[in-house]
């Protein structure tokens, strides 16, 4: 049984049918990527998994347990944690306070302090800036903070929405190196990306989504070789 199972999910914005029966699975310890163009429905998928949007049809299960009736904050408590698109850090909270918010569902103070040290070890930059307001950080630092904040919830599944967005290539490399590091430590990740090239380098498997439907799914290696993917998403003819 897969850790996260999405089955035949339909999500609407009013009358707009944004997800048209999407199914995907993520196994324990895997990095799975969901790639697709602008407006394909990638963020909608993650918001539906996180409970910010309700699917009109379909099921979402975590380790076999049906999730779609839980509220967004309860889903975090279950271990499904999202690092949203555009980072969305709290600009008027300090770096430390942002990390504390990430651990909001946790009650054990000692464990929270330990997790914070772990995040600081992963991103020493954040430790230097821990008293600064989130809004004063650079884009790369904000991505580190958003990722660290997600880790503070000790995710069973980490949902990452376009971590590469708006970052210089060198920062993209470093963020993805961090993802691989987390992967080696056993974290399960569902990675949404427009940058298919880098996503398929780190992922084990991938799904290609187009106007709300999964049109292709395979191992990352096969997707890298796939003719259509090469043309449409990797820009190789």
């Amino acid at each position: 049984m897969a850790l996260l199972e999405v089955e035949n999910v339909h999500t609407y914005y009013g009358n707009i049918h944004a997800l048209k029966g999407v199914s995907l699975t993520v196994n324990e310890g895997e990095i799975v990527t969901l790639i697709g163009a602008n407006g394909a429905g990638k963020s909608t998928m993650l918001k539906t998994i996180s409970g910010l949007l309700r699917p009109r049809e379909g099921t979402i299960r975590l380790a076999g347990e049906e999730m779609s009736h839980y509220k967004a904050h309860e889903i975090v408590g279950k271990g499904v944690v999202q690092v949203p698109e555009g980072r969305k850090i709290f600009g008027r909270l300090t770096v430390t306070e942002n990390l504390e918010m990430g651990a909001f569902s946790k009650v054990d103070g000692a464990a929270i302090a330990e997790d914070m040290q772990r995040v600081f070890a992963l991103f020493p930059r954040l430790k230097e800036r821990r008293h600064q307001l989130g809004g004063t950080l650079s884009g790369g630092e904000q991505q580190m903070l958003a990722t660290g904040r997600g880790l503070m919830a000790r995710p069973r599944v980490l949902l990452m929405d376009e971590p590469s967005m708006g970052l210089a290539p060198i920062l993209v490399q470093s963020i993805f190196a961090t993802l691989q590091q987390l992967h080696r430590a056993g974290t399960t990740i569902l990675l949404v990306e427009q940058n298919a090239r880098i996503a398929l380098q780190v992922a084990d498997r991938g799904y290609v989504i187009q106007t709300g439907e999964v049109i292709l799914s395979d191992t990352a290696e096969n997707l890298r070789r796939n003719e259509m993917v090469r043309k449409a998403y990797l820009g190789i003819s």
């Binding site: 509220k71 949203p84 709290f90 008027r92 918010m101 569902s105």
Partner: protein
């Protein structure tokens, strides 16, 4: 730089400055004339200042309720003045019962604490019901809808109290230990009740500020006020945090209700209206959504209202200047909004969230 400044400066701004500048000139000229004439003694000015501080502390406590709810829901809770009134009213019943049984004379401190506790609980109860029944179902509605509902709820509460307890003024019993005055130094005299109001308000505001800055709930309140969806992605139960925000604002309003009634010795169904509007003004003055801003705005407005009429107008030979204190208060609101639309401490909040 210069070009940006010029672009920002348009005709409507100019006309506002044309209105604002003479008023400021009038204030300056009037103040000089009054001080030069010297009709008022230092002691009288001292009285004005202390009264202004006491009145302003009460405005500040109420203003915090407006600002907290605005910060988190971007909504003006117009029924907040009735949350204040409910506390004052509940306090009245407890106070008169305790006074009749002589408990208030034998154990004044305990008695006062009981009055405050009941008032605060009543205000909190009213606010929680309001949020649950009137506002929560409208969370996703256009912004005008909860605003109109709030005004409706305000009338509903006023006329419920009027229907239940009548429209006459209820006289608060006297509390012996709060009567009388203290004399400071040469001949400065200060009423004990004013000391209680100022000290209690200062402690409550310090408590609130620490709560918002340091506790987990306080931090979550700030997170929710920045972005509800992202707060939910942190595992924060947004609805629960909203309820706690109403609770905090209402507790302060309930305490303010008792302080107000102890100072002015009365309670009535319509008593929330004027202090409510003034406190709302104070919240806007300080920068709505901003906690220290509401405190500062309240105290500032109280002082301005108390000292202003005499200081600005007496020297200009305006008769009975004190009658004009509301005009002065609202003129100042207009001035602040002209020259600093975001309020005194408004940061870029108003623009960023608009």
């Amino acid at each position: 730089m210069l070009r940006r400044a010029l672009e920002r400066f348009n005709v409507s701004d100019l006309s506002l400055y044309v209105v604002g500048a003479p008023i400021i000139a009038l204030i300056v000229v009037g103040s000089f004339a009054t001080l030069r004439a010297g009709h008022y003694t230092t002691r009288q000015w001292f009285d004005f200042i202390i009264f202004g501080l006491a009145q302003g502390s009460i405005y500040a406590l109420i203003a915090l309720g407006y600002t907290l709810v605005y910060g988190i829901l971007r909504m003006i809770n117009f029924a907040h003045s009735e949350v204040f009134m409910s506390g004052a009213y509940a306090g009245f019943f407890v106070a008169s019962a305790l006074s009749r049984s002589k408990f208030l004379d034998s154990n004044p401190v305990v008695g006062l604490l009981v009055i405050f506790a009941v008032a605060i609980l009543t205000s909190v109860g009213v606010a929680v019901l309001l949020e649950r029944i009137a506002y929560r179902p409208l969370r996703r509605a256009p912004r005008l809808v909860p605003l109109i509902t709030a005004i409706g709820a305000s009338f509903f509460l006023q006329y419920t109290v009027r229907g239940l307890f009548g429209s006459q003024f209820k006289t608060y019993p006297t509390v012996a230990i709060l009567g009388g005055t203290w004399t400071l130094g040469a001949n400065f005299v200060i009423q004990r009740i004013q000391v209680l109001v100022i000290v209690a308000a200062a402690l409550l505001m310090f408590g609130l500020y620490s709560f918002v800055q340091r506790t987990k709930t306080g931090k979550a309140m700030r997170a929710v006020s920045e972005d509800k969806d992202v707060a939910a992605l942190m595992g924060i139960d947004v609805d629960a945090i909203i309820v706690r925000t109403f609770v905090l604002g209402a507790a302060l309003a309930g305490a303010a209700g008792v302080l107000y009634s102890l100072m002015f010795r009365q309670a009535q169904f319509f008593m929330g209206f004027i202090p409510g509007i003034k406190a709302f003004t104070a919240a806007v003055l300080g920068g709505i959504g901003n906690v220290p801003g509401a405190m500062l705005g309240g105290v500032f407005l109280g002082l301005f209202e108390s000292v202003g009429p005499t200081l600005f107008l007496d020297g200009l030979k305006v008769p009975a200047p004190y009658q004009l204190k509301d005009v002065i208060a609202f003129t100042m609101l207009v001035l602040v909004l002209v020259f600093r639309p975001t309020g005194i401490l408004g940061e870029r909040l108003a623009r960023a969230k608009a």
